[in-house]
């Protein structure tokens, strides 16, 4: 199935900017570029593992809080540890603080983005607000604070993509486009983003990842279908994919595991879901438990 036809390739998306590229990162990554099924034909330059962290740990899974301890209260230190100690290729910063009732600390959004950029040397994924009313301000502040760094900004959805698209366009970032486990919806959202002016080489598809045992099989097949459509020449689906099995740590098997087994269960569940997403074609997998990062890195090398 290998082909030399340029049109059959998944588009390359650049994440992060080095000094030479106008940012401050020590490395930047190019994801995408595949021309065949995952692991077949020309292999992508690299597959990336992101560790997710947040700025307000009260909204974070207890099994991760127990593991990272005090780090959870210092977002910049947590980000540093994600790279240096846990070995993540990049950090995904979630602004969970925006879940607080009456949130209006927009200044902190900019400050935290800057601190995390200063604490890390690799490209950064920034997950904006969880509330549509806050979107435009949160994306603007974080987008502005990361200007020149070519962040991967999330998350655009069909009914709320304008704010994140605007911030990406204004400050030169890439965008995560999420649709609920459906090829046609993924395509439609990409078209909407294109019409808004977001260049196609700045879009990463998030097909939505159901947890293993809780809908993952649908995600797996939709990822395969997206990839096959792209390889067959559908330009609106020819973007790299990102998968974040965020639901995994709140499923019954993890929550209700005996305390002594909970960590192992959380890591096993995240690992199996994320690795399977890679086999289905994901270029970036995002996990929350630090132990899952090292395991994924080993597995992806083997």
């Amino acid at each position: 199935m290998e082909s030399n036809d340029e049109r059959l390739a998944i588009r390359e998306v650049r994440l992060g900017a080095t000094r030479a590229e106008g940012g401050t990162r020590e490395v930047s990554y190019a994801i995408g570029g595949e021309r065949d099924l995952p692991f077949s034909g020309k292999r992508p330059e690299r597959l990336l593992v992101a560790l997710e962290i947040c700025d307000d740990p009260q909204f974070w899974p207890p099994v991760v809080r127990d593991y990272v301890g005090d780090l959870a209260n210092d977002t910049a230190e947590w980000a540093r540890a994600a790279e240096r100690t846990y070995g993540a290729d990049l950090v995904r910063l979630n602004f969970t603080s925006t879940k607080q009732r009456g949130f209006d600390a927009f200044g902190a959004i900019a400050a935290t983005t800057e601190e995390v950029l200063a604490a890390t040397a690799r490209p950064l994924i920034v997950e904006g607000s969880n509330e549509p009313e806050l979107d435009s301000e949160v994306f603007r502040r974080s987008g502005e604070a990361g200007e020149g760094e070519r962040l991967l900004l999330g998350t655009a959805e069909a009914d709320r993509y304008r704010s994140v698209a605007a911030a990406a366009l204004a400050y030169g970032h890439a965008v995560i486009a999420q649709s609920p486990i459906d090829v046609n919806l993924a395509k439609q959202l990409n078209i909407l983003l294109r019409e808004t002016g977001v260049p196609q080489d700045r879009i990463v598809i998030d097909p939505y990842t159901g947890a293993l045992g809780y809908g993952f099989e649908y995600t797996y097949s939709v990822m395969e279908r997206i990839r096959l459509a792209a390889l067959a020449g559908d330009a609106d689906l020819a973007m790299p994919m990102i998968s974040a099995p965020t639901d995994t740590l709140s499923i019954r098997e993890v929550r209700e595991a005996a305390p002594a087994d909970r960590e192992a269960m959380a890591v096993a569940w995240e690992f199996y879901t994320a690795y399977a997403a890679v086999v289905a074609g994901a270029s970036i997998v995002c996990v929350r438990h630090p132990l899952t990062v090292a395991r994924l890195k080993t597995a992806l090398e083997g």
């Binding site: 077949s40 045992g213 929550r255 595991a257 192992a264 269960m265 199996y272 597995a299 083997g302």
Partner: protein
Amino acid sequence: MAMKALDIYKHLPKTNCKKCGYPTCLAFAMKLAVGKADVEACPDLEAEARTLLGGVTRPPVRLVTIGTGERSVAVGEEFVLFRHEKTFYHPPGIVVQVSDAWPDDEVRSVVEMVEETVVHRVGQDLVLNGVAVKYESNLPERFAEVVTLAGGGNSLPLALIADDPGALEAALAVAGHYRPLIHAATEENHEALAALAKRYGCPLAVRAADPAELAALAGKCADAGVPDIVLDPAPSSLAGFVAIATDIRKAAIGRTEPALGYPLSIDAGAFGDADAAIAAGILKYAGIIVVPPLSPASVEAALTLRQNIYTDPQKPIQVTPGIYPINEPGRNAPVLLTVNFSLTYFTLLGYLEASRIPCYLFIADTEGLSVLTAVAGGKLTETLVADSIKEFGVGDLVDHRLLVIPGYAAPLSGKIEDATGWKVLVGPRDAADLPGYLETEWKT
């Protein structure tokens, strides 16, 4: 590619003698066309027709059974490259490896673990499938002894992992009648191993690193009289496994290389991370996955992934809509509305049974969609609820007119009240909170 039923029919004797087990030659042709029958079943076929039809009507991946009896595992007989094209049919057998160099106790405890492990999910019992005994002692009689210790194939299917014909012969003397998988024939030993496989009627794995060599080896063993073959592509990396397995499945499905039309096996212990290898095997076409002893967390995740990947993508696992009494409810017991997605039902059932609260589960037909999905997709509606109340006679079961609905269905509460005349109570979103909610909120 596959042949149509009528084209196949042209080559059959057309006597409708029924010796094949089908009422007519045409009925047999139709089964052959979908890969569900074996040409060999018709005794009156001309040799030429037999060869021709054999090539085009067998399933692209042969069905191979390891072990005998209740716990035997049948793998292969797959028809597609991607599960969304139709479905995958035969989940891979996961066999846990022990070594004949281990002390007896260690072997025994692994065998017990395999026998006893059951993960209950959505109404199915998920199990590990067998034991692989690896020959490392260099003593054929010790190999046979450990094979006996592993049940000899009587209780659990076995894989016998050895290159040495002598050791295999000793083991087969003990376990040969239970169809163990002989693993694996190579360029060096294939004649002796094929002879053993033929003598005992056992499936045989063949191993070679290059697909062309693998096909040649499989062909030789088939010619030597071994019909049931498993392919071990001996990959040097996991990425390599995924790539080779994909190529082999393509060749099998496209019938470009019939000698590759067999299930694959993978040794998960041979890679940096056994869990990754298990996942890769499940996702990419392995029929037999040999694994090192696994932690309970790995077992549960692996069996869940296998269940996920091998469910029919067109049809969620469902329960029959209707009224389900739980914990012997009376006429004042709460009525709880939910959907007919199995996962939803079994999740609720687990919590409700543990709580001992008597209640009725009222399962509406959302075509197997979960609550949130059914609400988002317009499959759970006030009309459906009103019609189902009538259809199931819910009003005749209880003296009250109160309906507890899932928290995620809250947007429908007013509409359901209007359409049914029942008073709606919006329950919690998470089933784990349901017993607590009923204890404090339920009053009639």
